[in-house]
Assembly symmetry: C2
Homo-oligomer: 163 residues x 2
DNA sequence: CATCACCTGAAATTGAATATCAATAGCACC
DNA sequence: GGTGCTATTGATATTCAATTTCAGGTGATG
């Protein structure tokens, strides 16, 4: 009975409490997707979305699960897993497969396409974008008769701190 | 008792039977590595190396295992797996992780570094090399304070036939 | 040709992703 | 607010590839 009102106020609050570019966009997109598909808005999904947006990094299911557990020990791993897949389906998260065998999800809020620099020592991930490289990729593909649908470019090395 | 002689003659024969640029290089590198590490040259390893070089493609452990089984049903999956890792350690094979969740090994014999074009329809894999892209990668990395150790560039799309 | 450390192969284990299913909880309607 | 339908949850089981284990087998060396 309280929940409907809580949801609304939560949305408003998040506009206030978060600094920088806020992601009510993501929340709206998520809710729109849910409504369109006849899915339900649940407490867990709200919490997971909140935590995911707050983290703002490249999180694996497990990392997000562990973070959530601190405040919400009742949320199960399977729910985190399914919810992240939901995020991917509705376009507010991008699944990424780096070398470590775990799927990581990255918030696609606001961000354009980009590639990644990964530190092999401390695990830091830096995003970058380079139109020249993209153009050359197109060129190479055309030379081989390919039409590119997507690509993956990852540069592995040591970051400034770890050299 | 017969085996020692067989090994020797096998090496000679493979020089004769294979057309094109032969990979006794790879075989030599492998043997050198084995000797240096006190590892042993076994029939299975010879057979697996032979088959691997003969295939000359991007093979997963399972694919290679299945191929081997036709002629050598006695060779176990675990042995193929371990031997491919050995190849990787001694530098005659490169492990690759494309999107499909399986590790593929590629012969590094003769080939310089290169990247891949992958057809999302028929699974064809084309190798390419582009120094301009490599140079730009270096540049981008430097701009972010990174020193690149390795990279991964994969272009996914439709090949000429599959458009 | 004996010895020993390495190797093999079947089976067990791991780790991440995903499926299962009974219990729970939204949501729409009364 | 109550009711029923249906999606969701969370503990657990399953899957699938990679990897480890271990008893028995087999190279290399003296």
């Amino acid at each position: 009975m309280r929940l409907t009102r809580q949801c609304e106020s939560a949305k408003v609050k998040s506009n206030i409490k978060m600094d920088g570019p806020v992601n009510t966009d993501a929340q709206d997109a998520f809710h729109a997707y849910m409504v369109a598909r006849g899915l339900k808005s649940t407490r867990q999904r709200e919490i997971i979305l909140d935590e995911f947006l707050k983290a703002g990094a490249h999180l694996s299911t497990e990392e997000l699960y562990l973070r959530l557990r601190e405040q919400h020990p009742h949320i199960g791993y399977a729910t985190v897993h399914r919810t992240l897949k939901l995020f991917a389906e509705c376009g507010i998260a991008e699944p990424r497969h780096f070398g470590d065998g775990q799927t990581r999800y990255e918030s696609s809020a606001g961000a354009q396409h980009h590639d990644h620099l990964l530190c092999t020592v401390c695990g830091a991930i830096v995003e970058f974008e380079n139109p020249q490289i993209e153009a050359l990729q197109e060129l190479v593909a055309r030379q081989h008769g390919f039409r590119i649908e997507r690509h993956r470019l990852e540069l592995y090395g040591r970051c400034r701190k770890c050299q």
